[in-house]
Symmetry: C3
Subunit: 252 residues, 3 copies
Amino acid sequence: MYEVVTLLTDFGDFYPGVMKGVILSIAPEAKVVDICHSVEPQNVLQGAFLLYNSYRFFKNAVHVAVVDPGVGTERKALAVKTKNYVFIAPDNGIAYPSAYEDGIKNIYEIDLSISELVGELSTTFHGRDIFAPAAALAVKGNLWDYCEEIGDMEKLELFDYEIQGNTIRCKVVFVDRFGNVVTNLRARDINAKRFYFKGIEIPLVKTYSNVEIGEPLALIGSFETLELSIRNGNFAEVFDIKSGEEIELEVL
Amino acid sequence: MYEVVTLLTDFGDFYPGVMKGVILSIAPEAKVVDICHSVEPQNVLQGAFLLYNSYRFFKNAVHVAVVDPGVGTERKALAVKTKNYVFIAPDNGIAYPSAYEDGIKNIYEIDLSISELVGELSTTFHGRDIFAPAAALAVKGNLWDYCEEIGDMEKLELFDYEIQGNTIRCKVVFVDRFGNVVTNLRARDINAKRFYFKGIEIPLVKTYSNVEIGEPLALIGSFETLELSIRNGNFAEVFDIKSGEEIELEVL
Amino acid sequence: MYEVVTLLTDFGDFYPGVMKGVILSIAPEAKVVDICHSVEPQNVLQGAFLLYNSYRFFKNAVHVAVVDPGVGTERKALAVKTKNYVFIAPDNGIAYPSAYEDGIKNIYEIDLSISELVGELSTTFHGRDIFAPAAALAVKGNLWDYCEEIGDMEKLELFDYEIQGNTIRCKVVFVDRFGNVVTNLRARDINAKRFYFKGIEIPLVKTYSNVEIGEPLALIGSFETLELSIRNGNFAEVFDIKSGEEIELEVL
């Protein structure tokens, strides 16, 4: 039933390759697809945001999301069955917004004994020892042998921002390779023609080409949230903005 | 007929993962292969050069190349049928040198309504909304339902350099991870035993080991153009050269 | 018999994409899996260490490992048959620790004429011209047509460190994205409760959460060697440690 296994982590290079070895050794029929391995280290919110904006573009997929500052602690390893997917993740909220949106059916805790399929149980790399074999078994259809159904999972709110009068305080959830600053401010809560950021006027436009090259702009990007950009430039660099920051915008 | 879908973009991490979701949802039989996602942002020439030096090593492939500073403007989305491949790309010249070399048969404009297969049409991420579904349909063989044949496509010249007397002015089209400076100067136009660059003599040799470790050298690299290197060192860093620059070489 | 082809290189982006084209053109049935392409340029020891810590998690795999400062010299191109795998690599020791551990059966030199399958023979990119077609033929089962059995291969010792009295001098073989400093000091040779590094006391613990956030720690990581970390921080950055360095630890 499930064929595709997606991987979204903060692991960078190498570690995901080992996970693929584990997955393919157990389930050679799996198609493993990388979504992203450059989530900012231990930024669970960013991982949750990127998963939320990618999971639904896949079909019949097992989504593995591992940004896991709690590895080696008592935090649970989860398998969450939703209407269309299985999510495999640490119980820190990373999979919650996606699973909730798709429709949670059952929440399971994965038993650490699943690591017997790998032959290793480290305290630092559950991506290899727990989450990879779990994904492989989800593809094979017998993950549930290593699972116990539990009642609940950690929640995480992607869209916590404040709008007070003319002031918006929202979060930078992603800075992409072009220096586009992706915020968590949803289109539905934007009711303005321009913003002021650090005293600079930034028009809200439809597309990059609505301003001159080198000019700043705001638009509703492909995440359906507010993005700040410089046309053919790098907003994040010019304004020294990092992923994870809170920013303040004025609407006048 | 086509099975492999290659991706070459300036998207970095994450966005290509979403494209893979779209492609595999429409054409689960596709084999998606990454060529490169670290093209310098919006450097169409570099994208064209890297595509030109990789497309022919694949068989039965749909090549998707998206370096797209004009996304959201009126620039067309193209599907180009050539002797052996289909190229899917914005109409900015990125696919032209490759398509021309392989032999252009038909040039089509992709209708934006193809985004109905994704359920999204952003102004910023046509990789997801237009090019990915187009690639998937090319694999399935019914891309042409969403296409209209047009007469022409934007051209782009990879090998525009000047040779005047003893002076060569060529472009740095790629700086690789080793700091090798890859130029667009073709082997066929090189008729020298050594070059002078910023006053330094650089011998033209067959292979790195023809000079001592730490010494500069020039050779005809795997792109069949001139490359400048330091044996076991980093030429680009030492001489502060960036991709996209024009450089001047003397032949004495 | 072999279906998976793994790639481990210091090539960064782009070059591995070309290798995949070559492999899939010759052996469309191959499943190509990236282990890592960000080995520190020309750091053969790091390549060997990462291969040694990943190869066994795959089944029925052809492992291609190319960190190759000697490309274009007389160094041999090898195919090594072991109990469970085929290793394809330059003869510089990179594949030796893995092949030795799995059990070497036959060592072959690959003839450069194998490049006729690619139609190119550069002096700089044997990943494309030699190692990729070799991997594809290993999948197809007829690599041996292009091979001659030889008696021996270059050796490489992963675990060369010195323990003299209370002083340990070992090597940093990998710095991961979190700034964890992975050394080559094996668990079996560790007999301490704490280390002193540059005068700072670092406790040996089971897992990150055994110390407070921001505090340094040492543990036996997923490589089964000593790692130095800062909980939710970046040890390598704080202590300015680079991969390849030798470090000195005191046990008091």
